[in-house]
Symmetry: C2
Subunit: 347 residues, 2 copies
């Protein structure tokens, strides 16, 4: 997508280096981070310098390729794979990417070349899938629709285009006069920081709302459609996504509003029979108790926003049971969250 | 309630001055503001230096008394009443207080003495009602209960004791080993700042959670009971409370968790037939886009936390339809949110 007139992906590889948009500096600074080895790329994933289901997958694939470039010792490569997979345990795309690069490169005659090739193809496929998701999802968007989205499943969360926002970009191109309600998405505020930044860049009319206000706008009839991304989808359709997705899905059903998950089929993990099998990452309480932002003078400051004597809980994701989903928008079409249909589309 | 060993109310009157805990400095500083006239008290209400249903009511009653002390011109007193009533249009207790002081003092032989007397009696009644609410609400709290609360309906929101937190303080005194999940309550974070501060002061085990995480803990079976306050209750039981209350109520019903509103009967406005008649205050978008807090060096800084190109919507309250409420905990007992029962308890 365009940033100041230049086309960017969120993550890409040149030589043995991986380049990533520093998402934890957005929306206040736009900078590119250059990672010289797989350990630096792991650190970038863990610290959420790069974040979002597809972008994590691409970054993990590139990290795996970096490991192949750094050593030909199978034990060290396996150790690297484990290191990469320990960075963000809920992200299905991460495991999909490390496994694919590892399996194909390990048995190739030229493992290094193959690893880089596969990693690049994962990133390309992620971008192409996102575009397809956009085309299918756009069919759900009527003229003047009010659309709610949670967290960031835009192009920043993928290699390009995004999933939940990809249909929105197409609808905007087709001048459908849509309006997007952007959940702030505490505690890391990916909605207020990243989704709002993306939509502003793309000229899509929108407003940030407190997470608490989603049901208010549903009740007022302002929301015609909810689209969010997914971090992992179980075989039965139960979906792990950013904390708060469950609340929005429950409220959408209460008000009879269609609720869609937009995700490539690589997000589906048939090894997880239901959402109960999905591990939920608990992150540091500092993300809830403190917040970073820009002061009037332009410097980035971290401030404590909660009572000094208190602790916080910080689960990063929740599980939305399949029964709350109207459908899943994939690169292969829009499917019902049904076990048989899901199995069919993955195979 | 005790602060550093000394007993405080949130608002009180001495001579012609009104004293208020500066709630917008909490939890980082504990300071008392002295308001010398009704206009300063209006400003304190509007700026949310004093906030919360009951505390606003007491402050408004004292402001009305200040107006009587400042002038004996009936037109100016009526103008003052209008000024006070324009500060926070959703707060039922505010109108209750201004009307009661105005009506009784206007027809008294010594309007000034009467105004001060009535204003003080409103504050005393608010404190007594809160204690009664605590006793009734405590009956709902079982041993080792997990309790979710939203925003701040603690003693800071009233003259003393609070409503939603009053039962919690009694349960804690009775060593029920409760645990309180404190919704952060964006955008003004009254949960993370005020409720957490209160619970920490009182030694009640608790954790702040992002508003997005409430359904997550409900789904995990950690929440046995939800108690929130109310800013206005319509004749049919529809309840205006802090934005986000509606989401929590919808989710609580989904998971079969009892959802209670705790509020004195003065919060009930029979003139509002349903929630549709309750005016919702839309506040400045800055509350969503910026946040204030403490830096490591101890100074208070305001930072921008959202993408610079984007705007925000900021509705301060939402309406929870009566059908989502298990009951309303009042100073007269716990009632069903039923039109006839409500009319009976108010009269």
């Amino acid at each position: 997508m365009l940033v100041s007139g230049r086309n960017y992906r969120t993550v890409w590889m040149e030589g043995s280096s991986v380049f990533m948009i520093e998402q934890n500096l957005l929306p206040f600074e736009f900078k590119i981070f250059k990672s010289k080895n797989y350990r630096e790329t792991c650190k970038a994933i863990r610290s959420m310098l790069v974040r979002g289901a597809g972008a994590i997958g691409s970054a993990a694939g590139f990290a795996m390729a970096q490991a192949f470039l750094e050593t030909s010792n199978p034990d060290l490569i396996l150790k690297a794979k484990e290191d990469i997979e320990s960075t963000r345990p809920t992200a299905q795309n991460l495991f999909y990417a490390t496994n694919l690069v590892y399996d194909l490169a390990s048995r190739a005659s030229q493992p290094q070349l193959e690893a880089v090739k596969i990693a690049n193809s994962i990133a390309d496929k992620d971008s192409e899938d996102s575009l397809e998701i956009g085309k299918y999802g756009n069919q759900l968007i009527s003229q003047k629709a009010g659309i709610l989205t949670h967290c960031n499943a835009g192009w920043l969360a993928f290699t390009d285009h995004g999933t939940a926002l990809s249909p929105i970009y197409l609808a905007q191109e087709q001048k459908k006069q849509i309006f997007v309600y952007v959940d702030e998405t505490r505690p890391r505020s990916q909605g207020a920081r990243l989704t709002a930044w993306e939509l502003h860049n793309a000229g899509v009319p929108h407003a940030i709302i407190p997470d608490n206000a989603a049901a208010y706008y549903m009740q007022k009839g302002k929301i015609d459609l909810v689209i969010t991304g997914a971090d992992r989808i179980a075989a039965n359709g139960d979906t792990a996504n950013k904390i708060g997705t469950l609340e929005k899905a429950i409220c959408a059903r209460e008000f009879g509003i269609p609720f869609y998950i937009a995700a490539p089929t690589s997000t589906i993990d048939l090894a997880c029979k239901t959402g109960d099998d999905i591990k939920i990452e608990e992150r540091n309480e500092r993300e809830v108790l403190f917040q970073k932002g820009h002061t009037a003078s332009g410097s980035i400051k971290e401030i404590r926003i909660a009572s000094p004597g208190s602790s916080a809980f910080n689960p990063a994701f929740d599980i939305t049971p399949a029964r709350f989903l109207t459908g899943i928008i994939t690169e292969k079409g829009i499917i019902k969250p049904d076990q048989k249909i899901i199995a069919g589309i993955v195979s």
